[in-house]
């Protein structure tokens, strides 16, 4: 559990530095800087290594600097502090101050720093017991990342969940709890595992159900699409031309794939029932990719020369005319 009680020191954060704006920057400049950084660190498109972390910092900085009340309080408290320096607000500094919750959801605030919570955790309306948004802290949903293999074997997994809770003083705390879950065999991406009465309840409330949304970690060779599995099978030119039986390892065990003679590169083939083992089981689709051997020895060069002499094959015969 994260603890940031009144005795704890936290590190000062310079929100102006985070957004790259001057301390007297007008609201419009703050908004502009935020939007620029939100684009730069957007986790869906950013190429930056620490995009997710930076996005959280930027969101936190904007939550404070975009709200006139919070910004004024931050300016008053933060005078003379440097980033990373220990910080502790004086007692009752927030008496008679009110902050709006505009633009900050419970889920956002749960990802904010101890520094934010130290300043705004108590006074923040959404953290007060009995406030209208109290229910927003109930976290009934989590995304779990499984390996594709888990769908074939149905293992037990211990998952660790962090959920925001509000303590009796109205402080926001992140609580970590571990749950043992039996992963059902045949589970697919996009399905939801419902665990009855395992949601995190508000103070004294009834725990709801916990909904675990299933996603697969990227697999080095396979891609799941519903019940079906897709893979690209590299074959040698002679395997595609003459036909071959190729062993393929799958999470459910190895299979032998028969490549018919004259198989065209890019051709998609199907093996029934070798997808995810649900009821009915999915199929395995594979695309053939012909990989040419390198001419890296005198002998392979010789063979390529012979093929060039013997063959009238023109790879550009249909170039630009394929439909």
């Amino acid at each position: 559990m994260l603890s940031f009680g009144p005795e704890a020191d936290v590190e000062f954060r310079d929100y102006y530095q985070t957004l790259g704006v001057a301390r007297d920057a007008p609201a419009e400049a703050v908004k502009k800087a935020y939007r620029r950084l939100a684009r730069k660190y957007h986790p869906d498109v950013s190429k930056e290594a620490d995009a997710e972390k930076r996005m959280k910092e930027v969101n936190e900085a904007y939550a404070v600097l975009s709200d006139p009340g919070k910004r004024a309080a931050y300016d008053r408290l933060g005078q003379g502090h440097r980033p990373g320096q220990d910080f502790h607000p004086p007692p009752d500094w927030d008496a008679n101050m009110e902050f709006s919750d505009e633009g900050v959801s419970g889920s956002d605030a749960a990802g904010f720093s101890d520094f934010f919570a130290e300043i705004f955790g108590r006074a923040h309306g959404m953290g007060r017991p009995g406030s209208a948004n109290r229910g927003a802290f109930r976290d009934h949903h989590a995304r779990i990342l499984l390996d594709l293999e888990d769908s074939f074997h149905g293992p037990e997994r211990q998952i660790s969940l962090q959920s925001p809770r509000v303590d009796p003083d109205g402080r926001l705390r992140l609580e970590t709890r571990a749950l043992n879950v039996k992963i059902p065999k045949g589970i697919r991406e996009g399905q939801i595992i419902r665990l009855a009465r395992q949601g995190s309840a508000p103070q004294g409330g009834d725990p709801g159900d916990l909904l675990l949304e299933v996603a697969f970690r990227p697999h080095p060779r396979l891609r799941a699409d519903g019940r079906d599995l897709h893979l690209t099978l590299p074959v040698a030119p002679w395997e595609a031309a003459l036909g071959a039986v190729i062993p393929v390892d799958l999470p459910g065990g190895g299979i032998q794939v028969r490549i018919p003679a004259g198989a065209a590169p890019g051709r998609q083939m199907r093996v029934r029932g070798k997808g995810i083992p649900s009821n009915p089981p999915g199929d395995l689709y594979f695309d053939i990719r012909v990989v040419a051997p390198p001419a890296d020895t005198p002998r392979t060069k010789e063979l390529y020369e012979a093929l060039r002499k013997e063959s009238d094959f023109d790879p550009r015969q249909h170039w630009g005319r394929e439909s």
């Binding site: 935020y34 939007r35 939100a38 869906d44 498109v45 633009g103 959801s105 419970g106 889920s107 927003a136 109930r138 976290d139 009934h140 949903h141 037990e156 749950l179 043992n180 879950v181 039996k182 059902p184 589970i187 996009g190 399905q191 939801i192 595992i193 419902r194 665990l195 009855a196 395992q198 709801g208 916990l210 909904l211 949304e213 299933v214 990227p218 697999h219 080095p220 060779r221 396979l222 891609r223 897709h230 893979l231 690209t232 099978l233 590299p234 990719r289």
Partner: protein, 97 residues
């Protein structure tokens, strides 16, 4: 060990999606009525959502809030991000060889 149950396809109610994505109920109702977040069922009590719509709703809410974007624009961006997810998954599978 917890007792688990698998929920298929469009299975989440309006309240479950609100709780899952930490969304305001009225915000979500408006987006569904405008056809920006798909739901099965006609009456509000019968609406059901798929798990993928948790991420879609969160993305739309964040885009709307960050850029003060029109809901339709946020939905368009969410459409493109979903397609990007799909293409990235295909690319990963192709690079696997």
């Amino acid at each position: 060990m917890s007792e688990e149950q698998i929920l298929e396809g469009a299975c989440l109610t309006l309240d479950q999606l609100c709780a899952a994505a930490a969304l305001e109920r009225e915000w979500l109702v408006r987006r569904v009525e405008e056809g920006l977040i798909p739901a099965t069922g006609s009456a509000r009590a019968e609406w059901r959502f798929a798990a993928i719509h948790v991420a879609r709703a969160r993305r739309m809410r964040d885009i709307e809030r960050t850029y003060e974007a029109a809901p339709e624009l946020a939905a368009l961006v969410a459409d493109m991000l979903e397609e990007l997810d799909e293409l990235r998954a295909r690319l990963r599978a192709r690079r696997g060889i």
